[in-house]
């Protein structure tokens, strides 16, 4: 009982701790922390608390920030449920993006079908990129952390090579624009959000959250994955196919990240890109999964929080607060989560004290 309550309380306290620390840093640099909080509020609601003005564009941009990290968060969380640490969401995302560019440019299909094919291609490529380290882990017991980190670089350079040499660029950094049938942005979503980059990618993202929740919590397959996560040898003894579970778990995790690559490529952008550097979606995903306690619902909420922090960076900078503060808050939230044991202990002490006080109060 106490455990379940703590599962919600610990992240909340961690988040609070992160914000307090962020506010202290802002204060320490001689600026007003209220400006920071108001920037965060404005970035996620579009409402400027100082003037009362409303700009729906900010809401759109906020949601654009949320989408990819929700998916990479799911990716990391899903793998973690079967005891695997997927550092490779970044690479799987890039692999998904590379495949999506190819399908967007060279496959001709009517709108609707085309986007679907692109998303599927992204998921397949990401899945493959995840399955390989999974297979190496299952077959040869090569640690997935090492392999996935290295595969991030392979994906990164492969993407740039593919875009430059195979797809072809117009100016050395980007491909030609995708046809209209291939993109997720349209004038309707753009117009209701005052011209933001908001796009239809939110539909597959929400579906992915639902699928992830259903797979892990409601199916025998998911039960098998969780069993492997709890105790690999125990699961094997119970007759489960541990090796297959590991490969599948990584493949599905990769597919989530690959989907993120797809929606960035055909949603946020509408052309293939030579990447100037890793963009950190995978790392954000790790933080999101941690804060979300590796559950689909938790990831959903944590991604919204981290998306708001990312979106707030722009407004904070406009108000002369360094964007790094938002990163400090993110990092300290993760840090506080990592102090879960300590917080658990504090909570237990607090509640013991409270009980004792209650007990004494009821005696006479």
């Amino acid at each position: 009982m106490a455990n379940k309550r703590n599962a919600v309380l610990v992240p909340l306290i961690a988040i609070l701790g992160g914000f307090v620390l962020g506010a202290l840093v802002v204060l320490g640099t001689g600026r007003d922390p209220l400006v920071m909080f108001s920037a965060m509020f404005q970035a996620s609601t579009g409402i400027n608390p100082a003037t009362g003005g409303y700009n729906p564009r900010l809401v759109g941009e906020f949601l654009v920030q949320v989408m990819p990290i929700m998916l990479t968060g799911l990716s990391v969380a899903f793998a973690f449920r079967s005891g695997l640490f997927n550092i490779g969401a970044e690479g799987q995302l890039i692999a998904g993006s590379t495949a999506s560019i190819g399908v967007a440019l060279f496959v001709h299909a009517p709108p609707g079908l085309h986007q679907l094919l692109i998303l599927l291609a992204g998921m397949a490529a990401g899945g493959l990129w995840g399955a390989l380290p999974g297979w190496l882990k299952a077959r040869f017991n090569v640690h997935e952390v090492v392999v996935t980190i290295m595969m991030n670089y392979v994906a990164f350079y492969l993407n740039n090579w593919m875009v430059l040499k195979v797809y072809g660029t117009i100016d050395g950094i980007k491909t030609v624009k995708f046809p209209e049938s291939a993109v997720l942005r349209d004038s309707f979503l753009s117009s209701i959000t005052n011209g933001s980059q908001f796009h239809w990618g939110f539909v597959p993202v929400l579906l992915a959250v639902a699928v992830s929740w259903f797979l892990v919590e409601k199916t025998t397959f998911g039960f098998g994955l969780r069993a492997v996560g709890f105790n690999k040898e125990g699961a094997r003894y119970a007759g489960m196919k541990v090796e297959a579970s590991i490969v599948w778990s990584m493949a599905i995790a990769g597919a989530f990240a690959g989907l993120a690559g797809s929606i960035i490529t055909i949603g946020t952008f509408s052309f293939g890109r030579v990447l100037p550097g890793m963009e950190g979606y995978g790392m954000d995903g790790i933080a999101v999964a941690l804060v979300g306690a590796n559950t689909a619902v938790g990831v959903f909420l944590a991604a919204i929080l981290f998306g708001a922090l990312k979106a707030a960076q722009t407004i904070m900078q406009v108000n002369s607060i360094p964007k790094e503060i938002a990163s400090i808050i993110q990092a300290s939230i993760v840090l506080f989560i990592a102090m879960k044991l300590g917080i658990d202990y504090l909570l237990a002490r607090l509640s013991r004290k409270a009980e004792r006080a209650d007990g004494e109060g009821s005696k006479p």
């Binding site: 609070l16 209220l34 909080f37 108001s38 052309f271 002369s320």
Partner: protein
């Protein structure tokens, strides 16, 4: 126990509520405002972002504007931030929004279309719509790299001649017109002062691979090159490194820097540098110039302004410790001819 936690949770609510109350009255007399959006390299990249910001700051100093309040910057974390950041400044109704580099072409085209009354400036690139037409509310600042490179070539040629060497080299990043114009100017500059000098030309194929840049430099130095002009960004650092390592071993070879004064990057021992001189693109001058024009109601929207030797857009550094006074004087002579228009510098290398 519950009440304590509730209390903890209440803190942010109280904070939020109190900040909503404190709606500050805005200063009414509006100063001229400039916003710079950086690319993912960040504000302290020692290159375009930083250079442009220095120009914006210099403008603020001259016009007595407050840095942080009237002129400010937004750093981008990922490419997906470019458009939101440009839009954020547009929503703030900044008088001029500046972005450095051709990475911004797409985002700026979109932002300029969305905010037709907003003035934009792109540095070192030209924003055009899909029909190739310039955008009315975007000023484009480009640099006559060929002119500055001519001076670099003249300096390299004179140095080689003075020290009795007969080969110089050029290492470019990628072979497209912008970078080829450096090669054209360099070749013409060398030929003007030392026609018999041989010029080796290599391209790295990217702007990031310092290892390959160094390997190409080693190859050219091995083939007798005395001075190498690098136009390869991060890959070019490999060229400077190779020159530095050879100088440290008493094998005297020189590198010529690009975009900014790279003298300090070439320092190897007791303050001596292997960087002969640098071909600078004065992005700071361009940013300052366009901001001044915009402030005086002469915003050059829809046009392409070329920053050349004549308007201090390109050139060698003011001080060149590694060049003799005689060479500096001769190079200055060429600079004057180019400024006066009596000497024309080609924009594309002659095919061989």
């Amino acid at each position: 126990m519950k009440s304590k936690i509730l209390l903890l949770l209440l803190i942010p609510v109280i904070l939020l509520a109190s900040c909503a109350k404190k709606a500050e009255p805005k200063a009414m007399a509006k100063a001229f405002t400039v916003g710079l959006v950086t690319d993912v390299g960040g504000i302290d990249d020692k290159s375009f972002n930083q250079g442009t910001w220095e120009g914006v700051k210099a403008f603020a100093d001259e016009m007595k504007l407050s840095v942080d309040k009237d002129v400010k910057y937004l750093q981008s974390t990922a490419e997906a931030d470019y458009l939101p950041n440009l839009s954020a400044f547009a929503d703030q109704k900044m008088d001029l929004i500046v972005a450095p580099g051709f990475l911004f072409n797409n985002a700026m085209l979109e932002a300029a279309t969305k905010y037709p009354n907003q003035k934009f400036l792109i540095i070192d690139s030209v924003v055009a719509d899909k029909d190739g037409k310039n955008i009315a509310n975007v000023a484009n600042a480009v640099f006559a790299a060929n002119e500055g490179s001519f001076l670099a070539g003249a300096a390299a040629g004179l140095k080689a001649k003075a020290d009795g060497k007969k080969v110089v080299g050029y290492v470019g990043g990628m072979e497209f017109p912008l970078i080829q114009s450096f090669q054209a100017g360099f070749e013409q500059g060398v030929a003007a002062v030392f026609p018999e000098c041989k010029i080796l030309v290599d391209y790295v194929g990217n702007f990031t691979d310092a290892g390959k840049g160094q390997a190409l430099a080693a190859k050219q130095f091995g083939a007798g090159a005395y001075v190498i002009f690098q136009v390869a960004g991060g890959a070019g650092n490999g060229v400077i490194k190779e020159a530095k390592e050879r100088q440290a071993k008493a094998d005297v070879r020189w590198a010529i820097g690009v975009d900014k004064d790279q003298y300090n990057d070439g320092v190897f021992a007791d303050g001596k540098s292997a960087v002969l001189t640098s071909m600078m693109k004065r992005v700071d001058n361009a940013a300052k110039d366009v901001a001044t024009l915009a402030m005086n109601g002469k915003f050059p929207g829809g046009t392409v302004t070329v920053y050349s030797l004549a308007n201090n857009g390109v050139g060698l550094p003011a001080t060149n410790p590694n060049l003799s006074d005689d060479i500096v004087k001769q190079v200055q002579g060429y600079a004057d001819q180019i400024k006066a228009g009596t000497l024309k510098v080609a924009e594309m290398p002659t095919k061989k």
